[in-house]
């Protein structure tokens, strides 16, 4: 099996100038979650959507520098990598050899990674922080929760 990341024909389009709002990558397989999030965050954030792990890796390679945050569904059903593993990869905590080819040589990103779940009770925020996450948000995400988590991140860094 030979794969060249990113494979020809799978490249993402050139960067767009956008409309100036802060760009957030939201990785979730559920279309309805994307739509709700897009609607609720639209005043302050522009959402870049990814439906799974591969697409997330592609978009992170292309738009990583432009992002102010990454929202990851914890479970990501249908993907090889779940949100926790993607978080660990983006924080450089998983050796490259242990990764599927599409997730190798990912750029490190220095923006908050917020994990998203429909079942807050299942996960411990303290545990997720150990994996490199910066917060745990309930689904569907809304602007107040996202901004509060990002504010927490900014204030911690300022200390």
């Amino acid at each position: 099996m030979s794969i060249r990341p990113p494979a020809p024909g799978w490249t993402v389009p050139p960067k767009q100038a956008g409309d100036g709002r802060a760009l957030v990558l939201y990785v979730d397989v559920d279309d309805q979650s994307h739509e709700l999030a897009g609607q609720r965050l639209r005043h302050a954030y522009r959402l870049l959507r990814a439906g799974g792990d591969r697409e997330a890796c592609e978009l992170l390679r292309t738009y990583g520098d432009d992002l102010v945050a990454v929202l990851l569904d914890v479970d990501l059903p249908g993907s090889v990598l779940d949100g926790i593993l993607l978080t660990r990869i983006l924080r450089g905590k998983v050796p490259s050899a242990a990764l599927p080819p599409f997730a190798r040589q990912m750029p490190s990103i220095n923006v908050p990674i917020l994990l998203v779940t429909g079942d807050l009770g299942r996960y411990s925020e303290v545990e997720l922080r150990k994996y490199g996450g910066d917060g745990l948000l309930p689904k569907p995400v809304d602007i107040a929760h996202v901004t509060l988590a990002l504010t927490d991140w900014h204030l911690r860094r300022q200390r």
Binding site: W10, D19, H43, I143, L148, L150, T151
Partner: protein, 449 residues
């Protein structure tokens, strides 16, 4: 006005430690010399519990309103997200959304002046942030998001400061519940007040505040009954202190006097455990009796021009694309508010044969395979190559399918054929750590370069 640290302590005690921590961080960003905030921050960092607040803070929209006017926007947002304000859910959501927008980070490559504006907002200097934006607006047109934030800041900090003056000139009005309780309290009878509250609750079963006041009055009447023997002492002159003294205040329906005593009992050197609950009950009744002006933000909200909701139901074509095997692999970037994919790939670029019958094998994973818990997977990933990781039988099934699959010649050939293997999990397994159901494996031929 309740201090942010008192509120943080109250939230922390209720288990809302994240919001409590943000309030502490916000207070510290506003005033790094705030010793209360500093000690609370250190306690949180050490994983210790914050002590109980000196006084039980009244958490309501009026408090949030005062914090916003004072520029304490971070604290206000955290309090609204914690949402301990019952009966005001709609307005809480509305204010939280507006603050969420106002405090949102600026874009990654924004001008330094916008970065400075955001920094000032986080350190509680809303008026400075507004001045920064106004200076920038004088130099040239602002991007739409920055224009809207300037309008929001003006609306929150200036327009509503004027509204506050107007409000203070209004005659304060008592609530219907307060009017129902007043006659009994004028006769200095908490028992009659409890009965009046009971009647009010029966007539207004959806009024949460009335139900809360009724519970508080019942607790206070019970407390009075527990210390009733004081009244039977006849002509004896004995010093009455502590809880009995507070109960005497209750018997005279002197709620302020009782509150002062309970406050001392709750925070004094010899703490009486019940005093805190009784103090909360008295304060609940006192709050219900307060004249109130609804915090109305009556000024016209900033325009939403340029921020219309562009979300549309996905077209059938998009749904078909999203459901197709091709869409499950990498695809072009799609922005949520775009009308469609930014660029739909041409068919020749994507794996045409993915999941065709002739190119696929299906293997059903036995139901009795034990699920693998996430820590096991994590440990395996740390040490071993990924593809050797056992994931609840997933990899076994893939290997089996791969062995069975006789792929034959590629269906598309170019000078540089690129082979790719794709897997798809169907069936009931929602989490890939507990895969159940069907694994489909297909050989895919991609045309290179």
């Amino acid at each position: 006005m309740s201090t942010p640290i008192d509120v943080a302590r109250a939230l922390h005690a209720q288990g809302q430690s994240f919001e409590a921590e943000v309030i502490v961080l916000g207070a510290l960003a506003r005033d790094p010399s705030d010793t209360d905030a500093r000690s609370a921050s250190m306690a949180i960092r050490r994983g210790q519990r914050l002590g109980a607040p000196a006084t039980v803070p009244a958490i309501d929209l009026r408090l949030v309103d005062r914090w916003i006017r004072a520029g304490m926007l971070v604290e206000a947002l955290a309090l609204l997200v914690a949402n301990p304000i019952q009966g005001e859910e709609h307005r809480v959501q509305e204010w939280a959304d507006l603050l969420g927008e106002l405090l949102a980070p600026v874009p990654a490559h924004a001008e330094p002046v916008f970065v400075e504006m955001h920094r000032q907002l986080l350190r509680g200097a809303g008026t400075v942030a507004m001045a920064v934006l106004e200076d920038r607006a004088a130099e040239g047109p602002l991007p739409p998001w920055a224009s809207r934030r300037l309008a929001l800041l003006r609306w929150m900090l200036l327009d509503n400061a004027q509204a506050q003056v107007l409000e203070e000139e209004k005659t304060l009005a008592t609530s219907p519940l307060a009017r129902a309780l007043q006659p009994a309290l004028s006769q200095r009878s908490l028992t009659a007040a409890r009965d009046a509250a009971g009647t009010f609750v029966q007539q207004n079963p959806t009024d949460d505040e009335a139900a809360e006041v009724l519970m508080a009055l019942e607790a206070l009447v019970d407390e009075m009954a527990a210390h009733d023997h004081i009244g039977l002492m006849g002509g004896q002159t004995v010093p009455v202190m502590g809880r009995p003294a507070a109960a005497m205040q209750l018997q005279m329906a002197s709620l302020e006097g009782a509150a002062a005593l309970y406050r001392k009992l709750a925070s004094g050197q010899v703490k009486i455990p019940e005093a805190r609950g009784l103090l909360m009950s008295v304060e609940t009744v006192l709050r219900a009796l307060e004249p109130r002006v609804e915090p109305e933000r009556t000024f016209k909200r900033p325009s939403e021009e340029g921020f219309e909701d562009t979300t549309k139901p996905a077209s059938q074509e998009l749904r078909r694309l999203a459901a197709s095997p091709v869409a499950q692999g990498p695809r072009t970037g799609t922005f949520e508010d775009d009308e469609g994919p930014t660029r739909v790939a041409r068919r020749g670029e994507l794996p045409l044969d993915a999941f065709d019958d002739s190119q696929t094998r299906e293997v059903f994973i036995p139901d009795d395979l034990p699920p693998i818990d996430p820590p096991t997977v994590e440990r395996a990933l740390d040490g071993d190559p990924f593809m050797d990781t056992e994931r609840g039988g997933f990899d076994d099934a893939v290997r089996e399918a791969r062995a069975e699959l006789d792929m034959g010649e590629p269906t598309e050939v170019s000078s540089e054929p690129l082979e790719e293997e794709m897997t798809r999990v169907d069936g009931g397994g929602a989490s890939k750590n507990q895969v159940r159901g069907q694994v489909v494996i297909a050989r895919v031929i991609k045309v290179g370069g």
